[in-house]
Amino acid sequence: MARPLSGARLRAAALTLPLLAFVAVTFIAPLGSMLVRSFYEPHVADALPRTLAALRAWDGSSVPSEDTFRILATELRLLDQERKLGGVATRINRLEGGMRSAIMDTARALRNAEPDSWREAFTAAYPAWGEEAAWRAVRRAGERYTMRHYLNALDLDRDPPGNIVAQSPERRIYLPLLLRTLGVSLAITVICLILGYPVAYLIANASPARSNLLLLLVLVPFWTSLLVRTTSWIVLLQNQGVVNDLLVAAGVIGNDGRLALVYNMVGTLVAMTQVLLPFMILPMYAVMRSISPTYLRAASSLGATFRQGFVRVYWPQSLPGVAAGSLLVFILSIGYYITPALVGGRTGQLISNMIAYHMQESLNWGLAAALGVILMVTVMSLYLVYNRLVGIERMRLS
């Protein structure tokens, strides 16, 4: 690649510019903004500059000076007039429960007051102002560059002196969820592999007419809306659904012993396996189609049983397809959102559902971004490990 590009090649390369621009706008820019959001939090810092400046000198072991109370009152009043108080209060509240009402109530109480002691006025409006914790929350919320979303996403916290400590066990959410997501993705990958391998083998070795038909059947799901497919699983799996009805009718289970197959992990596993199966089958099929049946013939002419031939000759040659399919399914399922959201109930949620929650419900975009970054880093490091083990150059998608 050291050779200078000729004019023709430059012009040819220029044809990719629209795509590059598209990728930059739709992928790199959002990714970058997510990265930034996960550690850059200017909102409170911009809203309370003078309070934060005053708090910088504060030692944190006692309630701040009267001066600090006065400065905060001025800034809160200003924010109240500009109707920006709610956003600031919410952000501080994330660090210390109750701070939202503390700030809102105090601002309302102080609206027209000119008290002698701001400190007393504050604690009268809301007693928590008399404790260091409230002020620490203000100070930390004011950090422009912060690690707290990452700490939060990794179930870590800071103790009052500022050391990083683990969350108390009952408040650990994200790491167990990440582990569960990885586990579920692995399980789905393995199930897809077990279900998909024989199908891919069959398609690759069937007569052309039959293999076209089978391929069509594999592709049909792609032409059906994902929502339709997922909701059909609800119809099939729900308590009064087809599967339970059949089991009851067959006498396998009693009418009062109907199985909980949906709105839990079972639902997530079943529906996601079905959705992702084609992504496993297609790369495997593509590789298997290129394996000449002569190899198995050669093996048996050399004295091998079908099993020996399969295990030692066919399987190793199909590995690139297995590797590609598995990687595809694993990565897709790690980030899967819609299916668990619909059929996962409470126990079948994955990390993406949590990210969506913070994006849409709690509006804690910083935390959502940090979770997204952690997910991305996890996938990338798994990919590197996988690459070391399998070797990406041995992987073929077609």
Partner: protein, 375 residues
């Protein structure tokens, strides 16, 4: 050739094969291959050679008839128990294994102890002259080397029957010739029976002890190479093996090893093959090199014709004549003094001996591609 025994090794009896239930790919095949023989199935593309080989190896079942090896029918013997070494058309070397692992494969699945494996691999690599390549993968070998590995793999478990399906098809001409020689040498050294498939008649002629010529799923003739060349029994064989001038005529009389055949240019005296009766149509075949420029009284067949074209080859000249209803009648004459003066448009007198010209009964319709099951 001298090294073939008389004991029958492989026998096809009345074997037919159809894949789709309509077109017969192999029809009513009777063949017997002797022990230690280099037996070649020769025929144009699609004539059913590979199908025969695959039936013998056990990968396809005959639709009718019986195949036996060493006198035992093999219908119910799976390929892995037939003990036949097969060299496939595109080698089928296992791409993910080194040469050593490829060669060890048949030994491992047979449970040969490891110390013996190493010895056998060493020996077979010596036979195919490929020592020192054990650690390479097939993709790191040249075409000829891959070919040798394929042969070594078919030999390493010491089968006494080896099948080869156009093993030299993918090689260039020089390498082909070298490998033809090598394969023949290995076969003779080891004394194994080889059933060899090719569509290259030169290859078949130079390697085989006997050749079976296939056409549309039927064996036209089974014979030693010399016999096929000198004494073809069917029109297809006469046309397929070497250059031949083929033309048609009607038999007017038969007797004493000579028949007279009427052609557009007059009566041709020829050697009758098979059933020749007066009144029948026949095919006549005469080799270009057996036709000479005539001196009066030298040949019992003499004709005059115009030279339509002259091709200078070097040591010989090829004249194209319009003779006996064949507008592409080729005469090959040695490039000796005097012949160089011939020009296109000259009229020449040519002739040939009775015994060099064979009168063959016409090939029946049965050999045509349109013939279907039951015809």
């Amino acid at each position: 050739m001298a090294d073939t025994g008389t004991e029958t090794h492989v026998e096809f009896r009345g074997v037919s094969k159809t894949y789709d239930g309509r077109t017969m790919v192999v029809r009513d095949l009777d063949l017997s291959v002797r022990k230690g023989e280099f037996f070649t199935l020769l025929g144009p593309s699609g004539s059913g050679k590979t199908t025969c080989l695959m039936m013998l190896a056990g990968f396809e079942a005959p639709t009718a008839g019986e195949i036996s090896i060493d006198g035992r029918p093999v219908q119910n013997v799976p390929p892995r128990k037939r003990g036949i070494g097969v060299v496939f058309q595109n080698y089928a070397l296992f791409p993910h294994m080194t040469v050593r692992r490829n060669l060890a494969f048949p030994l491992e699945v047979r449970g040969v102890p490891e110390d013996q494996q190493a010895e056998r691999i060493r020996r077979v690599l010596e036979i195919v002259r490929l020592e020192g390549f054990e650690a390479r993968r097939p993709s790191e070998l040249s075409g000829g080397q891959q070919q040798r590995v394929a042969i070594a793999r078919a030999l390493v478990f010491e089968p006494n029957l080896v099948l080869m399906d156009e093993p030299l098809g993918a090689l260039d001409r020089r390498l082909r010739e070298e490998m033809q020689f090598e394969i023949r040498r290995i076969q003779q050294d080891l004394g194994v029976t080889v059933v060899y498939v090719t569509h290259d008649q030169q290859e078949a002629m130079s390697m085989s002890s006997r050749v079976a010529v296939f056409h549309h799923g039927r064996v036209q003739q089974v014979a030693e190479p010399e016999v096929l060349y000198e004494e073809p029994e069917r029109e297809f064989v006469a046309g397929f093996i070497g250059d031949n001038n083929i033309f048609r005529g009607r038999i007017t009389s038969v007797g004493h090893g000579i028949c007279e055949v009427e052609t557009p240019d007059g009566i041709v005296k020829a050697f009758p093959v098979g059933e020749c009766r007066p009144g029948q149509d026949a095919v006549l075949a005469i080799r270009p090199e057996r036709v000479g420029l005539a001196k009066p009284g030298l040949f019992s067949n003499e004709f005059e014709a115009r030279v339509d074209g002259i091709l200078f080859i070097g040591d010989h000249l090829r004249l194209r004549l319009n003779l006996c209803g064949n507008s592409d009648f080729i005469v090959k004459i040695p490039n000796i003094v005097g012949h160089g003066a011939l020009l296109t448009g000259d009229r020449v007198s040519v002739g040939w001996a009775v015994t060099d010209c064979r009168a063959l009964p016409l090939d029946g319709l049965e050999g045509s591609p349109a013939a279907e099951l039951g015809s």
